[in-house]
Assembly symmetry: C2
Homo-oligomer: 232 residues x 2
């Protein structure tokens, strides 16, 4: 089951994978082979990143004690996130049933985060934005203001590659960021140096439910041509 | 060349696509068919996003005047970004030749941004983080502090799906964020309402050079097990 490079073989087409990679919040506790984790992380680092600096770090947590500590923090902060979602109410385009299912999925996820056999935490080393004096002060300020918003451009593409690679190999996962509310606690558990920041918490395991399509609004509602207001 | 859903057919496997989707900075000015743009945007919106709120907006710019305005802003701010990269110097793991090639690619890109037949600008509607009183003040602060860093979790996965879909269809693109230094000017050109923020500028066109693999550090250098310091 390996290709000419000794890697796990997989023949799913790109579009098959993309159109069936829905978020998996129900995972089996069965262990995930190292070769699979390697394959998905290698897929991850094929993604683009700013200036190819590769300031990424992928924390793979298998140890039960560590998973339990992270899971406990995740559960605690997720209760606040749940309150925020309840406060915001059901989106207009979701049925009561869909909304209920999503909220239940979220609750199941935080109750069972620790039970996933692997917790993956993609991080970035955030280097202080050292700028040469030749750059005018107002441009320097604009650069610093934009930095947090675009930092994710160097890690979330890798996260998406990982989500797709998981799907192709028959592994379930889901992208969540709730834990960043307790960023310092998470960093302490992982023993991360100060210059690192976590961007996602991804439980990975064999799925208990089926892969399938996601529900999205029509493209015509979210794409525009040339100027805001003209539908694509 | 269409599948049973009337969509452009493509049989490349996920891993083939991922391992050959390098950044394309040299693009032909030839027009890109609408059906291709539709296909890649639809691939984009299969990606995950926070709470399935789908606050994304994809600005597809074909108009030559608009491309020229955006390209001009991009060129101007990219000169500052170039200075920043020069100030930071060559990364230890890049050869002089690789570094030179990357810098030249960046320069070619800003000189020719306007010539790409399509400029795609993925955006997000950033809703004010309205929080219920039941959430303690310090948790509210932590939520607001984390928000800019994780906002990209709802758009860069879609960006990566778009990059991969482009590659599968034989289109070149590259993810750049330099333009966010001049966010207000860009928003003015696109006539974007205040609540939107742009996250990327992606020129899309048929590539002048070949698809191929990227160069990355070994996985063992960027993945750790259980705690920082233990190599995976």
């Amino acid at each position: 089951m390996t290709d000419q490079y000794g890697k796990l073989k997989n023949d799913m087409t790109l579009f098959e994978v993309m159109y069936t990679a829905r978020a998996m919040r129900w995972l089996k506790p069965d262990p995930v082979p190292d070769a699979m984790i390697e394959r998905i992380l290698e897929a991850g680092i094929q993604a683009p990143n700013a200036g190819n600096r590769q300031n990424w770090l992928f924390m793979v947590v298998r140890d039960a004690g560590q998973r339990s500590r992270l899971g406990e923090i995740y559960r605690r902060v997720s209760l606040w996130v749940l309150q925020r979602y309840q406060h915001a109410g059901r989106p207009a385009d979701q049925s009561a049933e869909e909304y209920q299912r999503m909220m239940q999925g979220g609750m199941h996820l935080y109750e069972h985060m620790r039970d996933a056999p692997v917790l993956l935490i993609p991080c970035l080393r955030i280097t202080a934005c050292e700028l040469p004096d030749e750059i005018p002060v107002e441009i320097q300020k604009a650069m610093r203001d934009a930095a947090p918003w675009t930092a994710g451009a160097s890690i979330y593409p890798a996260v998406q590659n990982i989500i797709l690679a998981c799907r192709a190999l028959g592994l379930g996962t889901v992208l969540t960021t709730n834990h960043t509310i307790a960023e310092q606690e998470i960093k302490q558990v992982l023993n991360l140096p100060p210059e690192y920041r976590t961007f996602a918490l991804m439980p990975i395991g064999f799925p208990e439910r089926n892969f399938g399509p996601v529900k999205r609004r029509a493209l015509s509602e979210v794409a525009m041509l040339d100027r805001y207001g003209t539908s694509f």
